[in-house]
Symmetry: C2
């Protein structure tokens, strides 16, 4: 990706992230309990993420002739739900680091962290209720329906992944992975942010199902790239522990590719490793598995799969955004497809 | 409480519980992932609770001339949110039993349980969205606003309690307890179920703030009675471990009353006990604390406080329901005030 396009994408991401963050923080009640709740609600959002979801929502709204303000409550709700999901996801996976700092439950204890996640979900509802004034009841209600579907899909995908880990399920195919990922990641990271943006921008007239394939391909590319970075990325840029997915037993495309190609002996060894509680897994074995992933071409396979999916997303982009005139907002969404697989964090 | 009134209350509770449960279970999607999600979403609701919250909502709706069907989606949403809250609350408190069986996280693991709680919250939104058709957009939206306030208060109360436990806060007054309890319990157990019922029954014309004091007193009586039963109840009827609140370090009215009356020596000893992780607390020390609670009159104090609060709730009942004609629905709500403090489970 050309340097000027990277700068353009990062500039727009920063801009949308900072307006979204300002509104998000305004929504946090300035009252007690601060120490055990509202200060912590702001903790993950303040650890600057990429702000991908609000940016997709706002840019798509603008590409469809809406303005930033019209999409703002929805963008804030999506970002809050994302952060709530991260808090619970970190608890569920026993993750240690998030955005370069200890996870909320490592820092504050499990009980407080679970409750903070719940509070963030409540605040997202509050943000969505503010849509009534700006968008009117019909559109505000439609956005609600989108969000309801989004969160429903997300918990289903999460259930699949957590179940596979808990029951040490190893016989998984690429299709199983992609279905789980569609549910867990694509709907809420790409499809619904774009659908909601287009819905608001067009005043309810856009054909929303056009965004489904686009968001599916882009979301899958995004997650697979994330799985690659988790194994071979730069810890300082990436912000999580490198190899964390192996420590946590995540059923990534890379792990599944490797399991379907390694020897029965290796598979038994990996099964035993994954059957251990996280605390009993050793760094030596994690390194061995990573080496095997490299050796069997699983990391390269994932890299190339992410690029192919990004290519497919690009084709779908032209269909999904065909009715939108050329604009910098449309260009941003197009460029972000490449950015997804070129990013280092 | 006279035997025939107990039978009347329990009969109505059973009736409303069974219709609510039927609708609730209908809302659970009949699709995958079942084993890791949707079968478990139904787990706590199927362990029959009292069904207090949907019953208050439906009976109040009927007392205000609405019908059961009009209140059903809201009653289902409230019951789902209650059960979601129980799942997360059990995780947060490290509780072992719920309604006579192991807690969900003890049975299914922490990760799956947290995600199931999240899924139940999503389903409650789905139930509320169904209000659009039956109640029209204005009233459906008002119910949403009630629920948003209800859940917001609940996470604030929960944060207070969890913070006190985590940081081993002992210098608490009765007022601290009552404020926490108002937030954590009263709004969602009593105040909002009644408000929402009256709102729907009256088609939006009822004066909702009249229910706030009534629900506050009733909710406080309910919770304090619950704290008493936790210490001195019959395990088979109560369904949780007896003394569980002491094992979990819950800041109940009973504990606070005792801490404000025991010797400095005893207080230091209790502080040390409460500073231990749950697994290191001993049954011997739990028994000692329970004996001290009895000795210092803390359990009797809570019993008498629950009765006084029920009396106050009864006075408020006559104000809150003054505009509703006499009916069996109104009589049920009145009788439930006594039932709250006479129940054994």
């Amino acid at each position: 990706m050309r340097r000027d396009r990277v700068q353009f994408v990062e500039g727009v991401l920063n801009e949308y992230r900072s307006v979204t963050m300002k509104e998000l923080l305004n929504l946090v009640p300035p009252r007690e309990p601060r120490h055990y709740l509202y200060d912590l609600v702001a903790a993950y959002p303040k650890r600057a993420g990429k702000g991908l979801r609000p940016a997709l929502c706002i840019a798509t709204c603008r590409a469809f002739k809406g303005d930033t303000a019209a999409a703002m409550n929805s963008a804030v709700a999506i970002e809050l739900l994302h952060n709530a999901f991260l808090v619970h996801d970190d608890v569920e996976d026993g993750s240690l680091f998030r955005r370069g700092l200890p996870t909320l439950h490592s820092e504050q204890g499990l009980a407080i962290a679970v409750n903070v996640g719940d509070a963030m979900n409540v605040l997202s509802i509050r943000a969505l209720m503010r849509n009534l004034e700006g968008l009117g009841p019909a559109l505000a209600w439609e956005v609600f329906a989108e969000i309801e579907h989004m969160v429903g899909q997300c918990v289903e995908g999460q259930a699949m992944e957590l179940g596979w880990i808990r029951d040490n399920v190893l016989d998984l195919s690429e299709e199983d992975y992609l279905r789980m990922n569609l549910k867990k990641t694509c709907w809420y990271t790409c499809i619904h942010p774009c659908r909601i943006g287009a819905m608001i921008g067009s005043g309810g007239s856009a054909e929303l199902d056009r965004f489904n394939r686009f968001g599916y391909y882009m979301g899958a590319a995004f997650q697979i790239q994330d799985d690659v970075l988790n194994l071979v990325g730069d810890r300082r840029k990436y912000g999580k522990e490198i190899g964390g997915d192996i420590w946590e037993g995540k059923r990534t495309l890379i792990l599944i590719h490797m399991l379907n190609r390694c020897s029965p002996f290796e598979k038994r060894r990996i099964r035993r490793f994954l059957a251990l509680p996280r605390g009993d897994r050793t760094a030596r074995e994690v390194r061995r598995i990573l080496a095997l992933m490299e050796e069997l071409g699983s990391v390269d396979y994932a890299r190339s799969m992410a690029r192919q999916l990004a290519g497919a997303a690009l084709r779908e982009f032209f269909l999904a955004y065909a009715v939108a005139e050329e604009s910098e907002h449309k260009a941003f969404v197009r460029d972000i497809v490449f950015y997804m697989v070129d990013r280092e964090f």
